[in-house]
Each structure stands twice: as C-alpha cells, then as structure tokens.
Symmetry: C2
Subunit: 215 residues, 2 copies
DNA sequence: CCGCTTTTCGATAGACGTATAGATTCTATA
DNA sequence: TATAGAATCTATACGTCTATCGAAAAGCGG
C-alpha cells in the first residue's frame, strides 16, 4: 500500500537535518491533534508513510520527539520578546508589539506551539525545566514592560504586574485552542484588538492617550 | 496492603450516589493531573484503594468516566452566566459579574473544570457536541453583554464582540493552568483586576466612567 | 560495479491497558 | 441467622504500544 516515495536527497543544506525535520513535523501535527499520550508512534509513522520502527533511527524515544517538538514550539518567542523589550518606545507601545510578536508564531507554526502549550507538562522533569527557562523569559519580558509602565506613570498605579502579565499571556495563548472558524480570523486584526484592549485596560490616564483604532 | 475501608453507607440521601461520586472525584483528580490518555484506570483505582476492575461496576468505560467528569466541570457555569445576563445593571457591570461568576468554579472545583477545559476534546463526537452546547451558551452570554454595551454606547464602537468575548474567556480559562504559586492568589482579587482590565479596555468614553479601583 | 554509509524494514519481546466474567464478601433486613 | 442484593475481588482474554535487533535496501564515492 504505502508506496515508497524516494526521499529527495538533493538539498543544498549540507547538514543531515532534512529528513529528521519531516519526522518532527509529522510528530508535531499528530501530537497537536490527538495529544501526546493519545498519539502512538505508529500514527506518526503513518503520516510519513514509513514503518513505526524506522522512527527510532531518528529518535531514541517518543519522549525525545515530544521534547524536540516543544523546543521548536518556543523558537523565536524569547528572542522576539527580548528584542521588543530592548527597543525604544513607550511601555504601552512596547506591550502592543510584544503581543503582536507573541501571536505571530501562533499563526505560522500552530502545531509546534500548540504542542508546547498543551503537552509540555508530560515531559520528564529535566526537559520541562529546560523549557521552563524559556517560558519564564517570556513572562519576564511582559512583566518588565508592564512594570516600566507603572514606573513612568503610563500604567495605573496599584496594578499587579504579574497578574496583568498572566492575563495578557493567557489571552494570547488561548488563541491556539480556538475553534478553527475563530482561528481563521486575520491574526493582525486579533493582535490589534488585543493590544488596544490591554493598552486601554491598563492605561493610567482618564483617556487622552487612547491607542489609534484598529484598522 | 490496601485495607478495606468499609464504606459509610449511613447517608440520609436515599439515592445510591455517594460511592459513584467518590469515583468521579478520583477520576477528576487523576485526569486533571495526568490527562485523560495519560491516566490508566488502575491509577484511578489506586486513589480509592480499590481494584481496577471494580470501577466497572460504576462506569461502563473510561470514556464514560471522562464524560461524567466533564459534565460536572460545566455545572453551574451556564446557569450563573445566564442569571447575570438577565439581571439588572449596565453592560460593563454585568461583564464584571460574569467574570467573577466564571472564575468562581475555577477556584472551587479545579479538577473538574481543568478536565473539562483540557480533555473534553478526547470525548467521542456525540458527547462532545452535548458539551459544546454548554460552551456556546457561556460564550453567548459574554457576547450578548458586550453587544449590549456596544449598542448603548458604553463600549467603543467598532469592537468585534466575538473577538472580545474570546479574549475574556481565554484570559479567565487560562487561570486553570497557572502554576500553583500563581493560582494561590486570592481569586476575588484576580476577578477584580480582570474585570477592571476589560471594563477599561472596552470602555467607549475617554475616561470618566472608570471602574472603582480594585481593593 | 564495489564496498561503505545511511536509511528503512520485518519480526518480535515485553510491558501495559481496557474490559469481561464469575466467584466472593459485605450489609441490611426479614 | 438466613437470604437477597450491592459491592468488590480474582483471574484473564485480548489488544495495543514502545523499543530493540539484525537483515535488507538505497544512495554514493571511487
């Protein structure tokens, strides 16, 4: 049944990463849809039209595959967030950019991010801690910007920065689990409305400085 | 090893529901911690100090247990939300009450709600649809109040009500997956800050009508 | 075409997991 | 205390799943 699709070996990229990328990608897809424990290695192999045992040429265990997927799920997040923090601009503007930057991978690498968010808790403690560092870095970026806003008076006094950070991130991360019909919305529009919501929600002044309206 | 704890049969409640409640409760606990597919029926039995096979006296299948847990996970949500919608008050005040009402079960019945939110997708289509009705009812309640706010001018024109609803619910539901240290925060405080955030975030006027500050 | 490396395959060990069946024990009540 | 029904147990059938192993096949430089 499963026709042997001869693997395109004709990649310029010298590193022997192409095939294993396909494997991770298949794993991401199935993990995202059925969850880690709901996925059998057989199901991953099926996506690729290969035999279940062959996967073990690339991965030492199913857990290792989950870790690889989760790691890619965080790719870019931290770098993008920290770049925004270091950039110039008012805290509330930075927050808007943080939100946009955070939503972007959710759009472009859905499966990886979804697995990272929903399944990382099934990783063994060691790798979970490794990933925890990334999570905390992102949280820190958001919290830092909010604290800066409180400090310079643009965000209302008495705001619990950590709580506000958890609120924004909860809002943003939830997108990954929206129904497909809702996820279909234009991501730029989502980012804009989220940013407006948070900027106005946190703003200290009575009004003047409302953000420009979303397009 | 497992001592036979003679079951307290001395309940006034005539219905034979006590023991099966304990079973659902144990299932909720383990499903919440390890996920549905990560949980063996043996693990549930262990919590109760009973034999794995004995569970099947109460449930026809593991899936049925998941459905029971999920159903309880929605208990009260819809009723509370619809009561708020029907009550008197300005839309933004209602929204604040909706948020508080929505967060309350998250505090008092963590395991059930967590399973409902994270694991309901593993239910067979039939029961998933049943639960979908409840989800949609809650969403409708939030959306309805937001639409009312747009209609009466208290919420800024151009707001995408559905998007705003998804934002609030995402923010609220995320609480269930917070780290224990964050979850330990006073839930009333969380509700207050979330409500303030959304009220100010959505408010149409330049400022005047800001909500009272959180205590 | 040869031999070496990379990749995939077939077969299977061994653990685990769900669910069923019938025996056994418990509890309450006549 | 004898009996009926509820609750739990033991044993096990039967499927599935991860991971290993050695053989086969494919790709490639000489």
């Amino acid at each position: 049944m499963t026709t042997h699709v001869p693997r395109a070996r004709l990649v310029r990229n010298s590193k022997p990463l192409r095939r294993s990328d396909e494997i991770i990608d298949a794993a991401a897809r199935v993990f995202a849809e059925r969850g880690y424990h709901g996925t059998s290695t057989q199901a991953i192999a099926d996506v690729l039209g290969m035999r279940q045992a062959s996967l073990y040429y690339y991965f030492t265990s199913k857990e290792a595959a989950l870790e690889a997927v989760c790691l890619r799920g965080t790719d870019g997040f931290v770098e993008a967030a920290e770049a925004v923090v270091k950039s110039k601009g008012a805290p509330l503007e930075k927050l808007a950019r943080l939100i946009a930057a955070h939503l972007s991978p959710i759009e472009t690498r859905q499966d990886y991010v979804k697995v990272f968010i929903n399944e990382r808790r099934y990783l063994p403690a060691a790798s979970r801690r490794r990933l925890g560092r990334k999570t905390r870095a992102i949280e820190r970026a958001f919290e830092h910007v909010i604290l800066a806003g409180i400090a310079d008076g643009s965000i209302v006094r008495g705001t619990d920065a950590r709580l506000a950070m958890l609120a924004v991130l909860g809002m943003c991360n939830a997108v990954i689990n929206w129904r497909p019909s809702d996820q279909g919305k234009d991501m730029a529009r989502i980012a804009a409305q989220f940013a407006k919501l948070m900027a106005n929600g946190l703003a200290a002044n009575g009004g003047g400085a409302r953000m420009a309206r979303a397009t």
